[in-house]
């Protein structure tokens, strides 16, 4: 919210306080002042335009002005790009060397061949608001050569962040109360103005008000003001509105805006002549009803929307925007002033459905106190009488079927110290609450406090809320920093998190030259579909972009995208891995509404099949999982003939292989890449406790065996046959090489197995090993039709 410091300081009796000090006090009280803009116009001069000619050389539209800056400065030639500074206009001028409020420094300049000796300023450059088109600010009055600050005094504007629980502080009065409390004083300003109007006849005889849906409108106050004179607002109102970022329109509309900014209560003024039947009905919109709104747009209304209607038609959309037909115009004589309390949820729904957020809807959404409606109405009526010369009729329609319940919070004052961790003297705590307009009654019996929040505070309900009030005004910078801790009787052994457990895998991949990546979980659903990964994929209902509209079902495409990016930036030899969750819809609804979230490790690089396999083997070993067995496998992204299923402890835990060329094409990656996907939960579950075995005392005998088998026979099958036939003397076995080519017949391959034999009891003889080798050979012949090469 934009806050005029001059306005705030007047309400808070803080005229002497520096804006920075006020900003700090508000920030530490919970109203963060994000910025203090200063509008110092003492360096800007008032000038009168004597002549305006199009620039003869410039290609862009520019005008050359002769400007009178009074007797001291004389005349200057100034070039500007907006056409509205016609001869006779009074304009703000910044001479070379001056820095205008938005930070721009003005210099002497040659502009398309002509000397420019200063700048004509726009509202935006002077931080006085925005102009609709690029335009020079035009002044209504002023003496050439005098500083602009003679018309517009120097002021500061705060940008204040008001949390949604404090709509009462979306107002200068609310913030003034906070500022005075933070300054150790009470606000000298009654919440409820006394003004009620005196003109006859009674307003209730001039206007009927009916609420058809009291759940959506808790209160409707209407004031009737006759014989107003529509015209511009006085300068002080215009200045304050502009500082707060509101464009002045006319005195009546300006007063509704002014009081909203002062009290926080949105108000609306109707032209009374346009309220048919002299009655106001607060009802739901009818099917097919439409309203031409103040912004010139006709909106179709839905029956769940609340409208203000006269005897026949909707005249305003409750809490959101007024209607154009009933708006105050320069012809208006009599005004109906509305101050109502609309239901926040309903206003929000209407505003969302129409995609129309207004200053009023933003406030109602946060739920306002109905007590605020009367205060706002009285203040606005008073200003209408004072400024617009209207006669305010007494006896206002005020429909308020169910008055707001008073709130009472019982607090034991020692709660303050116990929660804050600092001693707050009782008198100080009580004074803070009173400065914030809370009532405090001390119970003589038990010393507890009966705390009564002011009517406009709907956010205080429990003792902790009261402690917070004391704390934020007392000052959290006065709370000493301490560390918790005490003697514990519960002992919970340290348990590493799963994420820390898989550090072994991370280290193994990093040691092999892989870089760890963290990629977004939201991916392009269309790409996921092109890659054949859309099974179980979960699209977002409200994505922001097509590139990120679906939860990923695999990490591999994200990693390929990383390779693509790095390759495009000149780094072709990159290998990456990631550990993250993927997301899969449950194939069958089983009562759990949440998707499956398999935790995966994926890696991609150009290490080749055996290269990547050795990294995985090392990683599993470091993790403490049993060695993997690789069987022929397949996977959506993988090359069918060059892919293995990774099995650990008899369970499939992932796959490893060459990525399919069509997948690589999707990412514009030439050449071959291998990748793997591993299920981390399965790997963690498969870990075995590490356990040492007695070291062998007798030497081992190593043998190699070249087995020629049909090409489709898997090495893993050969190894398990060897293990079965090798008996207890076979200590270890592995496949170390595979060969296809001219040395073996077509359709066959040669696999080199390495075998290690050892007995725990004796040194083995060659003939003993030969005997076992013969059994292994014959088992291989029988089961795999194997032949043997030397």
């Amino acid at each position: 919210m934009r806050v005029s410091f001059e306005w705030l300081a007047e309400l808070a009796d803080a005229g002497e306080m520096a804006p920075e000090r006020a900003g700090d006090l508000l920030t530490m009280a919970g109203f963060t002042v994000d910025a203090i803009e200063r509008v110092d116009l003492s360096q800007i001069l008032i000038g009168r335009v004597l002549s305006q000619q199009p620039h003869p050389q410039s290609r862009t539209p520019l005008w050359v002005h002769e400007v009178d800056l009074g007797s001291e400065v004389g005349q200057r030639q100034i070039i500007a790009g907006a056409p509205n500074a016609v001869p006779g206009s009074l304009v703000p001028v910044a001479l070379p060397g001056v820095t205008v409020p938005n930070g721009k420094e003005v210099r002497d300049a040659m502009i398309a061949g002509l000397a420019g000796q200063g700048m004509l300023c726009s509202r935006e450059e002077l931080l006085l608001g925005e102009d609709p088109e690029p335009a020079i600010m035009l002044l209504d009055e002023g003496e050439p050569g005098r500083p602009l600050s003679t018309l517009i005094p120097t002021e500061a504007v705060f940008e204040v962040e008001v949390t949604p629980n404090r709509p009462d502080c979306l107002s200068h009065l609310g913030l003034a109360r906070e500022l005075t409390a933070a300054d150790g004083r009470a606000l000298r300003h009654d919440f409820m103005p006394r003004f009620q109007g005196e003109a006859e006849p009674l307003a209730t005889d001039m206007l009927q008000v009916r609420i058809d849906d009291p759940a959506l409108c808790r209160r409707y106050v209407a004031a009737v003001v006759t014989d107003v004179t529509i015209g511009p607002s006085p300068r002080w109102i215009q200045r304050r509105l502009r500082a707060a970022g509101v464009r002045p329109i006319n005195n009546v509309v300006d007063i509704t805006q002014y009081v909203m900014l002062e009290y926080g209560q949105p108000l609306h003024a109707f032209d009374a002549a346009r309220i048919g039947g002299d009655q106001i009905v607060v009802r739901r919109a009818r099917e097919g009803e439409a309203l031409l709104c103040l912004d010139g747009v006709t909106r179709a209304l839905k029956p769940q929307m609340l409208v203000i209607a006269d005897e026949a038609n909707a005249v305003a959309l409750a809490g959101v925007i007024g209607g154009q037909e009933s708006a105050v115009t320069s012809e208006t004589r009599n005004v109906v002033l509305e101050a109502a309390t609309f239901d926040g949820v309903n206003v929000r729904a209407t505003s969302r459905a129409l995609r129309l957020r207004t200053e009023a809807s933003g406030r109602f959404e946060k739920t306002l106190s109905p007590e605020l409606a009367l205060a706002g109405a009285r203040r606005a009526a008073q200003l209408l009488a004072e400024i617009a010369g209207g006669a305010v009729h007494r006896g206002w329609p005020d429909v308020y079927p169910r008055p707001q319940d008073p709130v009472r919070v019982r607090v034991w004052p020692d709660k303050v110290d116990a929660l804050l961790g600092v001693h707050v003297p009782l008198e100080e705590a009580e004074a803070i609450l009173r400065h914030l307009d809370f009532g405090v009654r001390v119970d003589g019996q038990d010393g507890s406090w009966d705390v009564l929040p002011p009517v406009f505070r709907l956010d205080v309900a429990i003792p902790e809320d009261v402690v917070e009030e004391v704390g934020r005004i007392f000052g959290y910078d006065r709370v000493p920093a301490t560390l918790p801790g005490r003697r514990q009787s519960t002992i919970r052994p340290f348990q590493r998190s799963a994420d820390a457990e898989i550090d072994a895998l991370r280290r193994a991949f990093a040691a092999a030259g892989f870089t760890e990546a963290v990629t977004p979980a939201l991916v392009s659903g269309r790409r996921q579909q092109r890659l054949g990964l859309s099974e179980g994929s979960l699209p977002l209902f409200n994505p922001v972009s097509e590139e990120a509209d679906t939860l990923r079902t695999s990490l591999v495409p994200s990693l390929l995208q990383v390779l693509e990016l790095n390759r495009n930036r000149g780094r072709g030899e990159v290998a990456v891995f990631e550990t993250a969750r993927t997301f899969l819809a449950r194939p069958e609804p089983d009562g759990n509404p949440l998707p499956q979230e398999p935790w995966q490790l994926a890696a991609v690089g150009n290490h080749g099949f055996l290269g990547l396999k050795s990294v995985v083997d090392r990683a599993l070993h470091d993790l403490g999982a049993p060695p993997a067995e690789y069987r022929r496998g397949r996977g959506t992204l993988f090359h069918p003939g060059r892919t293995a299923q990774v099995n650990v402890a008899g369970q499939v835990v992932g796959r490893l292989g060459e990525l399919h060329p069509s997948v690589l094409r999707e990412f514009d990656l030439p050449g071959r890449y291998t990748g793997c996907e591993l299920d981390l939960d399965a790997l963690l579950a498969a870990r075995l406790p590490r356990s040492a075995t007695e070291l062998p005392r007798f030497p081992a005998v190593d043998r190699d065996l070249n087995v020629v088998v049909a090409a489709e026979v898997e090495a893993a099958g050969l190894l398990s046959t060897v293990a079965d036939a090798g008996g207890t003397l076979l200590e270890r076995t592995g496949a170390i090489d595979e060969y296809r080519g001219s040395q073996v017949p077509g359709g066959m391959k040669s696999v080199t197995l390495s075998l290690t034999f050892r007995s725990p009891e004796r040194t083995l003889t060659d003939s003993e090993v030969d005997g076992v080798m013969a059994e292994i050979r014959s088992a291989l012949e029988q089961r795999h039709a194997a032949r043997f090469r030397a």
Partner: protein, 188 residues
């Protein structure tokens, strides 16, 4: 609520926008105070991506529930954390704020490492860098977690991990963390 991603039209399934749901889970699992946990995790916001926003990012949330915990203990914990991460000269500022899980609530800032709090371009002139949100656990949250708010109190705090890392390592653009240019990754 506009900043939440939904998986279905009825808005039953959402991608979490913060890590605070873990508070209730931690209390349900550990049951009996003392409870001192920290939880990192991925969160999702419906933000357009720019140098300081990304639709996916990581948060870290801490929760302490014990007898006699105070705002002062929260302040001490935040001070310890920021001084450990950024250096012993750092100071902490807590600004009252509003969150639904805590009462009272705060946003917390660290003094700027460049100017030491005097105000400079890096911190936008006010000497403080916004780090995250925190507060004393709301009594209703404790009650929902099966913990008696009359006997125990608690505090919680959270912040964006990327933002912290960006402050610590001068990362100019938060999107670097998800783009994975190896020249960036190799810095670490």
């Amino acid at each position: 609520m506009q900043d939440t991603f939904f998986l279905d039209e009825s808005e039953n399934l959402v991608l979490r926008t913060h890590t605070s749901p873990m508070q209730i889970r931690a209390m349900e699992r550990l049951k009996q105070p003392p409870i001192y946990v920290i939880v990192p995790g991925r969160v999702y916001r419906r933000d357009a991506s720019d140098p300081s926003h990304n639709p996916t990012f990581m948060q870290l949330e801490g929760l302490a529930v014990d007898e006699g915990l105070t705002v002062g203990d929260l302040k001490g914990t935040l001070t310890y954390m920021c001084q450990s991460l950024f250096g012993p000269e750092r100071r902490i500022r807590m600004r009252p704020h509003n969150f639904s899980y805590t009462e009272p609530s705060f946003e917390f800032d660290s003094s700027c490492g460049i100017c030491g709090g005097a105000g400079c371009r890096f911190c936008g002139g006010d000497g403080w860098l916004e780090i995250g949100g925190c507060g004393m656990v709301h009594p209703t949250v404790l009650r929902n977690g099966g913990i008696d708010p009359e006997r125990y109190s608690g505090y919680a705090w959270g912040f964006g991990i990327e933002r912290m890392a960006a402050l610590k390592y001068n990362v100019p653009d938060i999107r670097y963390f998800y783009e994975n240019d190896v020249r960036f990754l190799e810095t670490f």
